[in-house]
Amino acid sequence: MTAPPDEAAIVCRALTKRYGSVVALDALDLEVPAGSVFGFLGPNGAGKTTTLRLLTSLVQATGGTAALAGVPVGEGEPNRRGLFGYLDQDPRFHGWMTPRELLDLVGRLYGMSATERLSRIDESLETVGLTDASRRPIATLSGGMRQRLGVAQAILNRPPIVLLDEPVSSLDPEGRVDMLEVIRRLGGSSTVLFSTHILTDVERVCDRVAILDHGRLVTTGLMAELLDRYARPIYRVEPEDGQLDAFARLTESLRAASFVTHVTESSAGLRVAVSEAPNAGRDLLAMVAAHGVALLVFERQRPTLEDVFLQLVGRRAHEPEAAA
């Protein structure tokens, strides 16, 4: 049932979800090409989880349509669910089961034979690095281990489409790298729709992205295209030590400057996004000089997805916001 390459594995047309007066998802039009690892980006409450839950039929759409591998959502249930694997953003399991028992149940629900179940369970546990804990009650597993188990159950039947909602949010840095590698490897054989608000994860594994904000699709496309289309020149400005007041005044002035689109502060100084004005670099340096700030670093950097995100959404991805 895998859609041929270049065909859309996931299609949403004017997909809408309202909860009373709250519009969680507003007429989403989206196509996810078969075989891609697709990053679904947005701040908290943007509508990412709602979209994934609509695709899995856990919630019903208020309007519009969606299809996975050409099969409309809501048709051919529950057999349609063999087309996708799904990981919830907060995966919950029966604590009395062991990971192996859970995967055995999932394998049975997918109609796998005993031999097939045995080999797939071993393979999935190995893939997510959970073999050693496979016979422990799930209630005794850490949050990260449960998230790994969530990925294992989502890929057990090697589905053509894998829907992952925040799949690395509970993992430690090492586990995060491992899991991102698992997701990257899934691409090609499966279509992966991967929701997150951690932009560096998307940059690491995704070839395409969609950015959602307040339930609306802001943009979608190949990662490189988006960087070309939206990213503005970025300058990193790092002062010498001991110039707190002067640097604070410079920061204020930069925020008010017409050629500056965004200023983000960090311990390493400022990241200043400027408009396309050809003289922006020179004007920036002139402002630095006018405030008498001595610099340690002044460099033009390659724009990142975060810069695109900030440009389009206008705030940090991890900024708290009401959940959808």
């Binding site: 899995t56 919630v59 529950p78 057999n79 669910r81 799904y86 919950r92 149940l105 049975r108 629900l109």
Partner: protein, 253 residues
């Protein structure tokens, strides 16, 4: 009913692992053994407590008293056990998110529900089987031998009654996201049915109305019309399940 076999296997395993079967078995066995004991020794206990100051005339206890005690105890502790078993069955899975995990797999919502109700019925069956065996044995020791088939028929009617109470709580568990709300619905239904069972024309068709024919069967007497009330109760369970399915099939998880 896609996925029913796998889900039933999981539910039965859950009843075992979470020791619900064990608890129900202990409660029902205690009722089974304790009821004839209570029937046999209550008159002597009453006499001993009264002392020499009062003269209480208590007729000698019979096997029918043991049966009556058994039915009364199961009508209270047994029904409460059935309610406790069913109250969290669906509500807890919805609240914890485990229902969402399973219902993104190829399993129908009907199969999801039916597996749970069947597992509850199976647990009650195991408990009732042990309770009935214990009750029969102690009645035999303390009183007399009763017809085993009649005793088994009584246990069968009791099972239907307990499943009927469990199914009403189960419906509450489907309709709400809280075990307590489900229990309240179950207990409310128990109270309403207890009131209805006192009505002369319809009382025989309530779950509690199965007690009288059950008692008659246990002591080898004519139970009167039992098929009608039995079928009404079975149809009631099926109807309640159907309503639960109608409510659950469109619920958002």
């Amino acid at each position: 009913m896609i996925g029913l076999g796998s889900m039933l296997r999981k539910e039965l395993l859950e009843q075992w692992r979470t020791r619900r079967v064990l608890v129900v078995a202990v409660v029902f066995t205690a009722i089974g053994i304790g009821s004839p004991l209570l029937a046999r020794y209550t008159p002597e206990l009453v006499k001993a407590l009264a002392g020499d100051q009062f003269q209480i005339v208590v007729p000698p206890p019979t096997a029918a008293d043991a049966v009556s005690q058994f039915l009364k105890n199961l009508g209270q502790a047994g029904v409460l056990t059935a309610i406790l078993l069913a109250m969290g069955s669906v509500a807890v899975e919805k609240e914890r998110g485990t229902a969402a995990l399973l219902l993104t797999k190829p399993v129908s919502r009907g199969a999801f529900l039916l597996a749970k109700l069947l597992a509850i019925a199976a647990t009650l069956l195991v408990g009732l089987l042990l309770g009935a065996i214990g009750g029969y044995y102690y009645t035999l020791i303390l009183f007399e031998a009763l017809p085993p088939l009649g005793w088994a028929a009584m246990a069968g009617l009791l099972l239907v009654a307990l499943v009927a109470y469990a199914s009403l709580t189960f419906l509450g568990s489907v309709l709400s996201r809280s075990s307590l709300a489900a229990a309240a619905i179950g207990i409310g239904a128990m109270v309403v049915l207890a009131i209805v069972s006192a009505l002369p024309s319809v009382g025989a068709f309530t779950p509690g109305g199965l007690d009288a024919p059950g008692a008659a069967l246990a002591v080898g007497k004519d139970p009167g019309s039992v098929l009608g009330p039995l079928l009404v109760n079975l149809a009631g369970v099926a109807t309640v399940f159907w309503i639960a399915w109608l409510a659950f099939r469109r619920q958002e998880l």
